[in-house]
Symmetry: C2
Subunit: 303 residues, 2 copies
């Protein structure tokens, strides 16, 4: 596996190796700290394309000054080993200066250079607590797609809003890459895999499985009902009934619980039981082993 | 010359006709109403590339609700004739719905979808009176470059700030197109060619030549001085001395007169006499034949 660090090296590599007229290339952008969720994207790309390319870049512009950029877990050598043994052809590992030639201060007011925003799907849910998060994501993915110029790029459903933002961006900016979303990978108890799970002790990870249990209960209620639509409040109650003990015990603090149209991410008052509904949430989980550790976990189900 | 109206047609056309590995393609995006300025870009592209592609699209997102979108001159058949007789291979003439699938209301608060902003060089000069102008330009050029995927794209120096914005965008988003800037084309009296000149009577066009005369006087003063730097005020006075009679007569109303670093577009207090200085302006010219017609003209010199 080739490991490249500069834009120029990657452009040269693809110009030399990939003939875009006759060959496909799949791209999996990551922030490293790889787990089975990432590897499922790599495997899908390998299956569908002539070349598979990954990137590892912890993107500063999607972190707010108050967030965990410095503490974000970095396990580069292990990640590269995993990618290599999965048959990845090339991995791009740029530094921040390479991706942001004018530098990238975390304070938005000090930033210079081009940024991509996707209006209408970036402001709600994750965007409410993290107002510049999707601007950071859209910008870095634009840069990476331009550098790698893959025919396909793979994203996990766990970050469903991210996929929605990027899909709208790629389609409406007419980017030359088709985006694909792959299902959430969960542990045996249903907890969605996340690089941040490692911050939780076993007890708290066990408790965190109830996040998914709650969402699943709502979806099964929705699918069981007879009428064409269901009251939003019925579904919210169904989730919250399962979460209530953990909220009461101080394990969970709910940031949001959303029942929205899966395309527009607009909240639904009346929920159709057929298709195109996404039930999603973000929950702060307090670690039982170390009460000062609070991890924000997200999850969702496409109903 | 092929005339195409949809993104899909253009992508198919380039996939069929242009082999990006071995052939170059030059792209000249325009808003139509073509004049010698545009044609100089076409000729340069013809000279340098295997294929030359143009586009004609009056981009709504760069107009404010108060501006002249509806009145912007449209001369499509004449434009297509000019392009065809210049040997252009393909011209892309999309509708607004094609470029903005979710629609493009002029009120920014109502807009949805992806937009590109270039922080640091968009806010001053043209951006001061037109706060979303460069966001509109950067967004539409991103879309067009992704659709056409040319190896080169050509822009006129008349819109120097636009070129600066687009150049920063293309470089730092790592777009796969090299941008080139071509000199301003002027009429015999020095007036920079512009689609909007046609709104002025002969008298007022004659008077408008003093815009360039003023800028030229400043540049020649700058080049004649001995020291390493010159006071900004000396240069401003030089321009304004030439403009003063026309301001007094009500022909000119100066929007801005700028002496800035040509890369950052930051205003200079002390002006180096060597390189990388741009003297630029926007002047409202009142038409002598029809006093209710006021045309905003821009011009600049790279000193």
């Amino acid at each position: 596996m080739k490991v490249l660090h500069t834009v120029k090296e990657v452009v040269d590599w693809r110009n030399t190796n990939v003939d875009r007229k006759t060959q496909t290339s799949g791209f999996v952008p990551t922030m490293g700290c790889l787990h089975e969720g990432h590897m499922s994207l790599i495997r899908e790309s390998k299956k569908e394309n002539d070349f598979t390319i990954a990137s590892i870049f912890v993107n500063p512009s999607q972190f707010a000054p108050t967030e965990d950029l410095d503490k974000y877990p970095r396990t580069l050598q292990n990640d590269l080993n995993l990618l290599e043994s999965s048959g990845v052809d090339m991995c791009f590992v740029p530094g921040a200066d390479e991706m942001y030639p004018q530098g990238i201060p975390l304070r938005v007011e000090e930033q210079r250079g081009p940024f991509v925003t996707v209006l209408g799907v970036s402001e709600q849910l994750e965007g409410r607590t993290r107002p510049n998060f999707f601007r950071g994501v859209a910008t870095v993915v634009t840069k990476l797609l331009n550098v790698v110029l893959p025919t396909h790029a793979y994203f996990g459903q766990k970050d469903y809003q991210q996929y929605t933002v990027l899909q709208m961006m790629a389609k409406e900016l007419f980017m030359n890459t088709e985006l694909k979303m792959m299902p959430i990978v969960r542990d045996s108890g249903g907890l969605a895999l996340s690089s941040r799970n490692r911050y939780l002790c076993e007890d708290s990870r066990e408790i965190s499985k109830n996040i998914y249990r709650g969402l699943k209960a709502a979806v099964s209620k929705l699918h069981k009902q007879d009428g064409a639509k269901m009251e939003r409040s019925v579904l919210l109650d169904t989730v919250q009934e399962i979460w209530a003990p953990f909220v009461a015990s101080g394990d969970f603090s709910v940031d949001y619980l959303s029942i929205a149209d899966a395309s527009t991410l607009q909240e639904l008052d009346q929920v159709p039981n057929s298709i195109n509904v996404v039930i999603s949430c973000a929950v702060y989980v307090k670690d039982r082993a170390n009460g000062s550790t609070v991890v924000r976990l997200i999850d969702n189900i496409l109903a």
